[in-house]
C-alpha cells in the first residue's frame, strides 16, 4: 500500500494559501459591504437610512450589550470608582438627555434658552469624560492632564455652536465602532492590517457621496419622515450644505457602524460564541451574576423584537423614541473606549 506524504514545502504553501484566504475573504466581504453602502447612499440616501435603522438598530444594540458584558470584570476591586462613574454617569446623562425635550416644551423655552440647555448638557458630558480619564489614569500613575485642554476646547465648541458640537457627536459616533474592531483584531495582525487599509476607503466614499450629492437634486418632500431624517443629519444646523450630502453621509456612516457591530464583531470580537454566556466573567462569578446576565440579554432580545414591530407600525415616532434612548449606548461606549487605551495587563482588577 503506497501513501503519498506531502512534502514540507507543499505543506508550507498550503498553509500560506489558507492563511491568505482567511485574511482576504473577510476583507473582500467588508470592502463589498462598504462599497454597497456607499452606492446606496449616493443612489437613495433616505431609503438607506430607513432600511439600515429598521434592520440593524436593535440587533447592533444587543451585540454591543453582549460585548460590554463580556468586558465587564467579575469583581471591580480597585476599578470600582471607574465603573461606578462610567455606568452611573452614562445613565444619568441619558436621563437628562431624554428630559431635555419635554422640559423645553413644558417651560416654553426660547431658542436661545434651548441652545443654553443643550450646551449645559454637553458641558456635563465633557466634565464626565474628563473625570473618567482622571479616574482611569491616576491609579496607574499616567498623565491625565492632557484631558483638561481637550475638555475645555470641547466646552468652548459646545457653547460657541451647540448645533455643531451635536453634529460632531452624530458623525463621530459611527466611527467609534471601527476603533473597537481594530482593538479586537490585535490577535490577528495580518487581518488587522488588511482592515486598516479598508478603512481608508471610508473618507474616499464620503468624498464621492459629497460630490454626487452636490450634483443631485434636493431630497424633496416625502412626508415628515424625510425632514426628520434630514434634521437628524444636520440639515437645520448646516442649511448651506445640500441635504442630500448630509443624509447620504450620515446614512453611510451609520450603515458601516451597524455592519461592524452586527457582522464583524460577532466573528472577531468575541472569544466565545455569541449566544454562549459561559465565558462572561459575571456568569462565572455567581448564580446571581448569571441570572442578571440572562435577564439583560433576554430583555435586550425582547427590545429588538419590540423595536421591529414598532418600526412596522409607525416608523417615524419609533425612530425618534429610539434615538432618544439610544444615547445611552453612545455614552457607554466612551468609558469602555478609554479603558481600551490602557495597555493590557496593566489594569489589575480584584480576582
Amino acid at each position: 500500500m503506497a501513501t503519498s506524504i506531502p512534502s514540507a514545502p507543499s505543506l508550507e504553501r498550503r498553509g500560506v494559501a489558507a492563511s491568505k484566504a482567511a485574511i482576504s475573504a473577510p476583507v473582500c466581504a467588508a470592502a463589498a459591504f462598504v462599497l454597497l453602502a456607499a452606492a446606496a447612499a449616493v443612489a437613495s440616501p433616505v431609503w438607506l437610512s430607513i432600511v439600515a435603522v429598521f434592520v440593524f438598530a436593535g440587533p447592533h444594540n444587543w451585540v454591543e450589550t453582549r460585548y460590554f458584558l463580556a468586558r465587564l470584570p467579575a469583581r471591580w476591586g480597585r476599578a470600582r470608582p471607574f465603573f461606578t462613574l462610567a455606568i452611573g454617569g452614562a445613565l444619568t446623562m441619558t436621563l437628562l438627555y431624554i428630559a431635555m425635550g419635554p422640559a423645553a416644551r413644558g417651560l416654553d423655552l426660547s431658542e436661545a434658552s434651548i441652545s443654553a440647555v443643550i450646551a449645559s448638557w454637553a458641558t456635563l458630558a465633557v466634565v464626565w469624560c474628563v473625570a473618567i480619564v482622571a479616574v482611569l489614569s491616576r491609579p496607574l500613575g499616567r498623565d491625565w492632564t492632557w484631558a483638561l485642554p481637550a475638555g475645555f476646547f470641547a466646552i468652548a465648541l459646545a457653547w460657541g455652536s451647540p448645533g455643531l458640537w451635536w453634529l460632531c457627536l452624530v458623525y463621530g459616533h459611527p466611527l467609534v465602532a471601527l476603533i473597537f474592531l481594530d482593538r479586537e483584531l490585535h490577535r490577528r495582525p495580518a487581518l488587522q492590517r488588511g482592515v486598516r487599509w479598508l478603512w481608508a476607503i471610508v473618507p474616499v466614499a464620503l468624498v464621492a457621496i459629497a460630490i454626487a450629492g452636490a450634483q443631485g437634486e434636493s431630497l424633496g418632500v416625502e412626508g415628515g419622515l424625510t425632514m426628520r431624517i434630514a434634521d437628524h443629519a444636520g440639515a437645520t444646523i448646516l442649511p448651506s450644505v445640500p441635504d442630500r450630502i448630509l443624509v447620504g453621509s450620515h446614512a453611510f456612516l451609520e450603515t458601516v457602524h451597524y455592519g461592524v457591530w452586527v457582522l464583524a464583531m460577532p466573528m472577531f470580537g468575541f472569544r466565545t460564541p455569541l449566544l454562549r454566556t459561559a465565558g462572561i466573567p459575571l456568569v462565572r462569578r455567581s448564580r446571581i451574576g448569571a441570572l442578571a446576565v440572562a435577564v439583560v440579554l433576554t430583555t435586550g432580545a425582547f427590545f429588538v423584537a419590540t423595536l421591529w414591530v414598532s418600526f412596522s407600525i409607525d416608523y417615524g415616532i419609533t425612530r425618534d423614541v429610539y434615538f432618544a434612548i439610544a444615547m445611552l449606548h453612545v455614552l457607554v461606549e466612551v468609558p469602555f473606549l478609554l479603558r481600551l487605551s490602557v495597555p493590557r495587563g496593566v489594569v489589575r482588577d480584584a480576582r
Binding site: T145, P149, F152, L157, W159
Partner: protein
C-alpha cells in the same frame, strides 16, 4: 531657571498672546443701531392698503422677505446676534482655559516629548489658532436664516403673484403669516 519659573513664564506668554490676538483681527462690522422698542399695539388695526405679493425662486440659500419701508413702522430693533451673550462669554472663557492648560501640559511634557516635539506642537497650535481667529473674527453676527419648510413653496416655473391685504396685529404672535385662500 527651575521648572516652576519656566512653567510660569510660558503661562504668562500664552495669556499675553491670547489677550493680544484680538488686536490682529478685523472688527469693522458696524454696530446695529439701538432703537427703542415701541409699546405693542393692543388691538387689531386694519389697513386697507393693497399690495402685490410675489413668491419667486432665487439662487440664494437663505429665505428673504422684501417689504417696502413705507409698510413698516419705524420700530425695528437691533438684529439678534448669532450667539447669545452667555454663550459667547462661556465659550471665550473655556477657549482661553484650553489654551492655558494646553500650554502648561506642553511645558510639563517637554521632558517626555522632547523640546523639538513640544516646540513643533506649540507652533502648529499657534498657526491653527491664528487662522481660526482671522477666519471667524470677521464673521457676521447675524444668524443664518433657515428657510425650513418654506423651500416647499419655491415655484418651479414662473413666479407666483397676486394681491394680498396687509393686516397689522399685536396679539403676541411675532410671526409674519401669509394666509392663502383655497383654490376655487
Amino acid at each position: 531657571m527651575n521648572l516652576k519659573y519656566r512653567v510660569l513664564a510660558i503661562a504668562i506668554a500664552c495669556i499675553s498672546f491670547w489677550c493680544a490676538s484680538p488686536a490682529l483681527t478685523s472688527a469693522d462690522i458696524a454696530q446695529p443701531e439701538n432703537r427703542a422698542t415701541p409699546e405693542p399695539e393692543r388691538r387689531v388695526r386694519r389697513n386697507d392698503q393693497l399690495v402685490t405679493f410675489v413668491i419667486e425662486a432665487s439662487e440664494d440659500y437663505q429665505a428673504r422677505l422684501y417689504v417696502p419701508e413705507n409698510l413698516l413702522a419705524a420700530d425695528a430693533t437691533a438684529a439678534p446676534s448669532g450667539m447669545s451673550a452667555v454663550g459667547t462669554t462661556v465659550s471665550g472663557i473655556a477657549l482661553s482655559l484650553s489654551v492655558i492648560f494646553g500650554g502648561l501640559w506642553l511645558a510639563r511634557s517637554r521632558k517626555r516629548l522632547g523640546t523639538q516635539t513640544t516646540a513643533t506642537a506649540a507652533a502648529i497650535l499657534v498657526v491653527l489658532a491664528a487662522t481660526a481667529t482671522y477666519t471667524w473674527a470677521n464673521a457676521s453676527p447675524y444668524p443664518l436664516a433657515n428657510p425650513g419648510t418654506l423651500v416647499q413653496a419655491t415655484p418651479t416655473g414662473a413666479p407666483l403673484s397676486g394681491k394680498v391685504r396687509v393686516m397689522r396685529v399685536s396679539d403676541g404672535d411675532d410671526r409674519i403669516r401669509l394666509l392663502l385662500p383655497k383654490e376655487r
